[in-house]
Symmetry: D2
Subunit: 262 residues, 4 copies
């Protein structure tokens, strides 16, 4: 079996080049990598990727959006070329990284749009960012409550994507300390519930090495979700009660996935 | 027995007036109360109170310091007239409140000086604040490691002030939901180790109601320390390895207290 | 307001006399109080009370059952006249107390019947007791999964009775260290969801002191359920996969309660 | 690199034969493997192995002891040929397995002697076993307090053997789900403190596969210690306050090890 070890310390095997230039911003707590396009005379929008995504998951969309927005797409800590911060992956820290990014890099009020876990962070910003900073928020398929381990409403992480995250965490390891992609694929068959396995195998089953978007991911994210440390100080019910701007919350992929999975 | 219920929702029984005007700053996540004195042509300093302290613990010092500094003294979330944020008392959140305070209120590089728990937050800022924001940091008697529940070095919270914090948490309750000062004093005799009890009784033994500085304190702070949630995503060993500015770390009171307590 | 302090250390205000004699059995880890009736030539049955119940919740039933069974009704640790064991209320410990009780007191195979939390312990015995010890198990309205904080299936404790348990834990305190019955009733109005409050007020609303069954209860039970420590090493899904005897699982009261509560 | 997968499901690669016959006893909760020698007319003694040991760590000693004792040496759950019980490795469960073993197999009062973690379980038995069951207890180099994550006294697990346990847990995995011995040896160099590394390399550095005693070990033990779940309901200070029989507590190896390590 082959051991993979990806991350900022092994950039040559981890990253590929993209259509847009990448830039680094130091929040003091983490280095945040981002790309930008469009023009400053348009409204500013910040795009927040989902779990196992990097900024360039928005690469195609950015081209289309550039006509209407000054577009910023970021790597969160633990994604892409941004810092790895062991023990410090929390919604509060993800959110505060972006508050600093918006303050110092964008430097004017923004619309935020986040996908999946990024949608939860968009919700965080709409609740906890400084007054006036967020003009509107788009939560795209956010696992509100569903990414918590003891949610106020609905099924918990354990009852959904938890088994997949546990698989990643166990066989890839914090900062790829394990990196056993092959064993992960094999173990999926024993560990994942049937519907999840079907999706998992459709996505990854034939790959002899991780796809690009997984290479750029710190698997400690998965552990932070499974153990609940990611949201230990950020109850979703409380967070949503604090939202201070207009929000748009479409649920498309997760509904579709549910159909596939169940 | 008498039930006490202090906090921003009962301001008339909780607060007293002070020599300096108080101001409010909204971080989006919390309202931060502060006082300021001295002149903007002097270096800026931010004073960070300890547990069960409010900004006015620095009231006398501010008069002396005003000749040399533009002085800002803050109430952290859960102190004084600042917000109560149930479930959200963490070093990362305390620290990021101050990053926003310094960015938007002070608006230039600062020296920070924190006492006790405030000293840990001064350390947080010296490690995690944006580059160039902190000119120097003064940690005054900070319980580095000693306020953690599983520290990398030295005795843990349980082996030190933990019993006292547990007492406060149990008999005062989150946001003063219990407020049983009298029972707390009585139970101290059963619960506190001898040295701690001696100090505790010297400080509070004869008081039929809480002293002013305790009235302004959210006892959920104590619970956050006892359970370790305050530092769950902020290991002190890692934090100190990230310090990026000059620090001054005097240990005076804690040594003295150790002599009294042991 | 009046402070109540119940438990084995204050027997004269805590306990009342009953129709059946009470006996004590020392497991080494806890003193288990029990009553017995019926004849040794009938099949043995062990009755396991629910949360906030003592053995005498079965007092009337015991008279009827005595014609058919050698009936044993127990107080679990933290109930009635059995031991208080701070920090040690877990399903594994409740269950192992009964294994020893059956081994040394009943001394032959038994049927077990448990109500509510006691039903979960009946399930524990049907899964984990020594081979041949349990002839059959009756789980009466057991909160399987529903008393877990991160269950494999269905709503968690937080989404059900959790708020009520948190109320008990906060205002009564471990081993009645708070004992503020009056404040508990008042706070219920702010804290409990409407349906739960209706039930709670119907049961306790007019009582100026705790009813007998609550006096005999160690409120640390409630905390052990809210924090999940009670089941930290006893996942219900795994437990049920290990059941080795015939079980009868009627759901009556909890369905009724759901109708009242929702 | 080679993946190893040991345990009762792969007996042919996991176990070797021994001088004494092995027997299985079913507690209902776990299958306990043991060997016995000596004569029933001598006092009974139960030998409890340490972490990463199996009963046959006592194989030589048993020959010598057989002149004086009826000797029983056990595999605890997660050791040797005893059951693997995912999620259920706690001191309370280890201890209660032995209470049943002594009740049903030995069937008379015993002396217990445990090494290292086994010494903590000997302490558990001296505190929590049924009255009269334990005639005396020998704790051999037990990590009292030192195996807790938030001990009442002294350094915690994190400050001692924790890094080694974390290494085992990460690279071997619960029930050998990872089994990456080679990567474990390599990572030791980055992760272990110098003294621990020296000991670790002296023991394992040249081994291309795990030694016999490690093959028979469920690495979930290590995780249960690192996370503290093993002792979550068994505080050592409280346990020791409950000891009811004579104890002999020699500290030899741990002192020696400290000299090697520090």
């Amino acid at each position: 079996m082959q051991k993979f070890n990806y991350g900022p310390e092994n950039p040559e095997i981890t990253y590929v080049s993209h259509k847009y230039d990448e830039h680094l911003f130091d929040t003091g707590d983490a280095i945040i990598n981002y790309a930008a396009t469009g023009s400053p005379d348009k409204p500013a929008i910040v795009l927040i990727p989902g779990q196992t995504e990097s900024w360039w998951g928005y690469e195609k969309a950015m081209g289309i959006m550039a006509d209407y927005f000054h577009v910023f797409a970021v790597d969160l800590r633990g994604q892409g070329r941004s810092s790895r911060t062991p023990g410090r992956y929390t919604f509060d820290n993800f959110g505060n990284d972006l508050v600093k990014f918006i303050t110092f890099v964008v430097a004017r009020p923004v619309v935020v749009s986040g996908l999946s876990s990024g949608g939860v962070i968009a919700a965080w910003l709409s609740a906890y960012a400084p007054p006036g900073m967020i003009r509107g928020a788009h939560y795209e398929d956010p696992p509100l409550f569903a990414s918590e381990i003891t949610p106020a409403y609905g099924p918990s992480l354990r009852q959904g994507v938890g088994a997949t995250f546990k698989l990643w965490s166990t066989y890839l390891g914090d900062q790829w300390c394990i990196g056993d992609w092959g064993e992960m694929l094999k173990s999926a068959r024993d560990i994942l519930p049937p519907g999840h396995l079907r999706l998992f195998e459709a996505l990854y089953g034939t790959m002899t090495e991780p796809p690009q978007h997984i290479k750029e991911y710190d698997p400690e994210w998965a552990r932070a979700f499974v153990t609940g440390t990611v949201g230990a100080s950020c109850d979703h019910a409380r967070m949503l009660s604090r939202v201070k701007c207009r929000c748009y919350l479409p649920i498309i992929f997760h509904k579709l996935m549910r159909r596939l999975v169940i």
